[in-house]
C-alpha cells in the first residue's frame, strides 16, 4: 500500500497537463452553450476532435480510436486532471461513453469506422435508446419490435427518457427481434439514424425545468439497414450489459469529482457565513463530516478497485461505488439545502459556479442540485436495483 503514483504515471499526468495548457479553448470562445446532452457546440467539437487526433480522448484505447494504450493508473490520473480543471471529456457523454464504446467492443471493423469514430471525433452525436414506458428497471422486458425483412429491419414501438435524442444524429436502440424466447434472448442492438422516416422525437423537460434533455422517441415502420445490427442477432442483451459495464467501469471518478465539487462549494459558502452561521451548528457539522468521509471513501474504494483490476483480480464493486457516489451527492445536497433554510428559497445560481468547459448542469442552485441528484439515484440502475445486485452477486444471497 502506498499513497503516491509511480513516476511513470506522474510523467503521463504532466504530459497530459501540458497538452491541456496548450489546447484548451479560450474561455471567450465558449459562449455558445450546449442545448442538450446530444448537442455539441462548434468550439467543443473542434476541441474534442483534437483530443481524439492527439490520442487524449480515450487514453486506454489504441491510437486508431483516439487513445494511446494507457494503463489503468494513467487513465485514472487523466480523469483527475480533467476533474481538477473542470473540463468535461465530451458534451455528448452517452455518445462517447456508451454508444461508441459499445460499437468499439461489439461492432465490426466497418461499424467502428463508420459510426464509432465520427461520434468520438464529435462529427456526429448519439443517444441511447434503452428504456421504454413499460421497461425501466426491467430493461429486458422491452417491447419495441424489429422485424427482419430482407436487408432491413422494420421497427415499431416507443422509447422514453432518451437523453439528448432531439439533437442526436443516431440512436443505439435495443429492440425485440424474437418475442417467442425468454426475454433476455430475443433482444438486438441497432444503430438508427434519427432522420429516418417514421421516427419521431418529442423532447420534454425534467424536474429542474431547464432546456429539455429527455425525449420520447416513436418508431412507426422505421426502416433500418440490416448492416446496422451491432453484435449478433438476438445477442443484444450482451451488448446492453456490456454497454452498462462501460458506463460503470470508471464512473466512480465522475461521482467522486461531482461530489468534491459540491463539497468545495459547500465548504466555501459555509465559511462565507451561508445559512446564517450554519458552520457553527453542530448538526450541520455532523452531517458535513459524514459527507467528507463519503468523498474520501469513494476515492479510496475507487483506487482499491483500480489496484485490483491492475492485478487482474475480479472487481465487484461497481454497484457499491455507484450506490455510494450517487447517494452521497444526494445526502450532501440535502444537507446544504436544509442548512441554508430560507436562503435556499431563491433558485438563482451563485456567480462563479460555472466552468466554461463543463456542461451547464454544474451551475445549479442548491434546490435544483438536490433535484438533480435523483438523476444519479434513478438512471444507470436505481439504488434499489444496485442493492439487489450487491446482495445477490457480491454477497451471494438467493434471487427473490
Amino acid at each position: 500500500m502506498r499513497l503516491t503514483y509511480t513516476s511513470e504515471v506522474e510523467a503521463f499526468r504532466a504530459e497530459f497537463s501540458a497538452w491541456l495548457d496548450a489546447n484548451l479553448p479560450d474561455p471567450a470562445s465558449t459562449t455558445v452553450r450546449p442545448r442538450s446532452s446530444g448537442d455539441i457546440p462548434a468550439w467543443a467539437r473542434e476541441y474534442q476532435r483534437r483530443m481524439f487526433d492527439d490520442g487524449w480522448l480515450v487514453p486506454g484505447y489504441p491510437p486508431e480510436f483516439g487513445g494511446r494504450n494507457a494503463s489503468l493508473y494513467e487513465q485514472a490520473v487523466y480523469w483527475e486532471e480533467l476533474g481538477r480543471r473542470r473540463v468535461t471529456q465530451s458534451f455528448n457523454p452517452q455518445g462517447l461513453g456508451i454508444v461508441s464504446a459499445s460499437i468499439i467492443t461489439f461492432g465490426t471493423e466497418e461499424q467502428k469506422h463508420r459510426w464509432a469514430v465520427p461520434i468520438m471525433r464529435a462529427e456526429r452525436t448519439a443517444a441511447l435508446g434503452m428504456s421504454e414506458p413499460g421497461a425501466g428497471s426491467d430493461l429486458a422486458g422491452l417491447s419495441t419490435r424489429a422485424v427482419l425483412d430482407g436487408d432491413r429491419f422494420i421497427v415499431n414501438g416507443q422509447k422514453v427518457w432518451t437523453s439528448g435524442a432531439h439533437h442526436a444524429d443516431v440512436l443505439l436502440a435495443f429492440v425485440r427481434t424474437d418475442p417467442d424466447v425468454p426475454k433476455h434472448k430475443g433482444i438486438s442492438a441497432l444503430i438508427i439514424e434519427t432522420d429516418t422516416p417514421g421516427l419521431e422525437r418529442r423532447p420534454f423537460q425534467d424536474i429542474t425545468a431547464r432546456q429539455p434533455d429527455f425525449n420520447e422517441v416513436f418508431f412507426d415502420d422505421v426502416e433500418v439497414p440490416a448492416e446496422n445490427l451491432v453484435g449478433e442477432l438476438n445477442d443484444g442483451w450482451r451488448v446492453c450489459t456490456g454497454s452498462l459495464a462501460h458506463e460503470r467501469e470508471m464512473l466512480w471518478i465522475l461521482w467522486s469529482q461531482g461530489l468534491d465539487q459540491m463539497l468545495d462549494a459547500m465548504l466555501s459558502q459555509l465559511n462565507d457565513g451561508a445559512g446564517a452561521g450554519a458552520a457553527d451548528d453542530p448538526v450541520v457539522l455532523d452531517g458535513l463530516g459524514s459527507s467528507i468521509m463519503d468523498s474520501w471513501s469513494l476515492r479510496l474504494l475507487g483506487q482499491r478497485q483500480l489496484a485490483r483490476s491492475q492485478r487482474g483480480l475480479h472487481v465487484a464493486d461497481q454497484s457499491l461505488l455507484k450506490l455510494l457516489g450517487s447517494e452521497a451527492q444526494q445526502k450532501l445536497a440535502l444537507l446544504m439545502l436544509e442548512s441554508l433554510g430560507p436562503a435556499a428559497l431563491d433558485r438563482t445560481v451563485p456567480p462563479g459556479a460555472q466552468s466554461p468547459y463543463e456542461s451547464d448542469r454544474s451551475a445549479l442552485s442548491w434546490a435544483d442540485r438536490y433535484w438533480f441528484t435523483f438523476a444519479g439515484t434513478i438512471s444507470g440502475g436505481t439504488s434499489e436495483i444496485h442493492r439487489n445486485i450487491i446482495a445477490e452477486r457480491v454477497l451471494g444471497q438467493p434471487r427473490g
Binding site: M1, R2, L3, T4, Y5, Y73, L263, D264, L267, S268, L270, N271, A279, P282, V284, L285, D286, G287, L288, G289, S290, I292, M293, D294, W296, S297, L300, L301, Q303, R304, L306, A307, R308, R311, D317, L320, L323, L324, E384, H386, R387, N388, I390, A391, E392, V394, L395, G396, Q397, P398, R399, G400
Partner: protein, 373 residues
C-alpha cells in the same frame, strides 16, 4: 497509488487469522464474558508469538512492523473479539511513550513491553469523553525528588490491571506525561458492556512517584494528540473487525434460515439491509487503512484520517449492530448465540475514544479550516 494490500500483507492477514481462529475462538470470548476465565493465558500466548513486539521500533527490541500491518492485526483481533491488554499496551501505552519520552528513554521503557514483561495503558480523559488534552486538569506537584499527583482519570482501558499507566497531568502550567505504576493507584472497574474490554476510573490523589518517571521535556500536548491519533485508529480497526464478523455471521445465516419456504436472504427487506451493512463496512475499511497508511508515513493528513476512520467505524457498527441483531431474529437475542460477543465489541468501539459524531464534527472543522486557508 496502490491502495491494496501487498502479497506480504495478505500473507500476514492469513497467518494472523489462523492464529486467532485457533487461540481466540468464540469459546474464549464467551468464557471471559461468563467470568470463567481471564485473558492472562491468551496474553501469554501472544507474548510467545512476539505480538507485543510487533509494532515497536527495533531500538526497543521491537520487530518494527508498519502501521498497516498493525491495523491488519487489530482488525483480526476485533473479528475474534479477542480479550486482553494488546490494545491498551500496543496502541495506547507504547505510542504515548514513543511520542512523549526522549528517544533513549522511550527505548528503555519500551523494551520490557516488547519482551512481554510489562503491560501498560494511558490515562487522559477526566470524564468529558473527548480525550482532549486541553481538558486535562489533574496535576502534579514537585516534592523533593518526587511528584505528588492529584486528580481522577476516567475510562482507563485495563486501568485496574495494567503494570504501568502513562498519566497526563499539569505540572507548573505545562501538560506532562508521568509514568505511574498500576499498583500505586486506586482503580475501580464498573460492569463492562464487553467483558473483554475493561475500563477503570483511577484516583491519583496523593500518589507519589519519583520525578524521574516524568517523560520527556516541555509541554506534551502535541505528543498526546499524536499518540491518540494512533489509539483512535486502533479502536477503529478493532471495531471494523467486529463489524465484519457480525456481517459474516448474518450474511451466512440469511442463506440458511428458511421461513415461508425460502431462505430469508431472498426477501428484499433483508437483502437491502445486508447491502447497506456491506457498504458501511467497506467505507470504514478503506478509511481505517487510509488512516493506517498516513500513520505509517507520518503524513500530514493523519489527524483528519484518524477521525474519519473512527467515525466511519462508528457508523458501520451502528448499522451492523442494529441490523445484524434484527436480522438474526429471536436467536440473536440469546446469550448462547455468539453474535452478542461481537455486537458488544463493535458497540464498545463507538463508546470510547470519541463518538462518531464527535469525530465527524472534528473532520468538518478541519475541512472548513483548510478550505478557508
Amino acid at each position: 497509488m496502490e491502495f491494496e494490500f501487498t502479497e506480504d500483507q495478505l500473507e500476514l492477514q492469513r497467518a494472523v487469522r489462523d492464529i486467532l481462529d485457533a487461540e481466540a475462538p468464540p469459546e474464549l470470548a464467551r468464557a471471559v464474558a461468563d467470568g470463567q476465565k481471564d485473558a492472562a493465558d491468551f496474553w501469554q500466548t501472544l507474548v510467545g508469538l512476539e505480538w507485543p513486539a510487533m509494532a515497536l521500533p527495533e531500538e526497543a527490541d521491537g520487530l518494527g512492523y508498519g502501521w498497516v500491518e498493525l491495523a491488519i492485526v487489530l482488525e483480526e483481533s476485533g473479528r475474534h473479539a479477542a480479550p486482553g491488554p494488546f490494545m491498551s499496551t500496543v496502541t495506547q501505552f507504547a505510542p504515548l511513550i514513543a511520542e512523549a519520552a526522549g528517544p533513549g528513554q522511550a527505548a528503555e521503557l519500551l523494551a520490557p513491553v516488547a519482551a512481554g514483561q510489562t503491560t501498560g495503558t494511558i490515562a487522559v480523559d477526566e470524564g468529558a469523553g473527548t480525550w482532549d488534552p486541553a481538558e486535562v486538569s489533574a496535576t502534579g506537584r514537585r516534592s523533593g525528588d518526587d511528584l505528588v499527583l492529584e486528580g481522577t482519570k476516567h475510562y482507563v482501558l485495563d486501568g485496574a490491571t495494567a503494570d504501568e499507566i502513562a498519566v497526563a497531568v499539569r505540572i507548573e502550567g505545562e501538560l506532562r506525561v508521568v509514568l505511574v505504576p498500576g499498583s500505586s493507584v486506586q482503580a475501580v472497574e464498573g460492569i463492562p458492556v464487553d467483558p473483554g474490554v475493561r475500563h477503570a476510573t483511577i484516583t491519583l490523589d496523593g500518589v507519589r512517584v519519583p520525578a524521574v518517571r516524568l517523560l520527556g521535556d516541555g509541554d506534551a500536548s502535541d505528543a498526546i494528540r499524536r499518540a491518540l491519533e494512533e489509539s483512535v485508529t486502533a479502536v477503529a480497526a478493532v471495531t471494523l473487525g467486529a463489524c465484519q464478523r457480525i456481517f459474516d455471521i448474518i450474511n451466512a445465516y440469511a442463506k440458511e434460515r428458511i421461513q415461508f419456504g425460502v431462505p430469508i436472504g431472498s426477501f428484499q427487506a433483508v437483502k437491502h439491509k445486508l447491502a447497506n451493512m456491506y457498504r458501511d463496512i467497506e467505507r470504514a475499511r478503506v478509511l481505517v487503512y487510509y488512516a493506517a497508511l498516513t500513520l505509517a508515513e507520518d503524513h500530514p493528513d493523519r489527524t483528519l484520517a484518524a477521525s474519519m476512520a473512527k467515525a466511519a467505524a462508528g457508523e458501520a457498527q451502528r448499522r451492523c449492530v442494529q441490523d445484524g441483531l434484527q436480522l438474526a431474529g429471536g436467536i440473536g437475542y440469546t446469550w448462547e448465540h455468539d453474535l452478542h460477543l461481537f455486537l458488544r465489541r463493535a458497540k464498545v468501539g463507538e463508546l470510547h475514544f470519541g463518538s462518531a459524531s464527535q469525530h465527524r464534527r472534528k473532520v468538518a472543522r478541519l475541512a472548513l479550516q483548510s478550505s478557508a486557508a
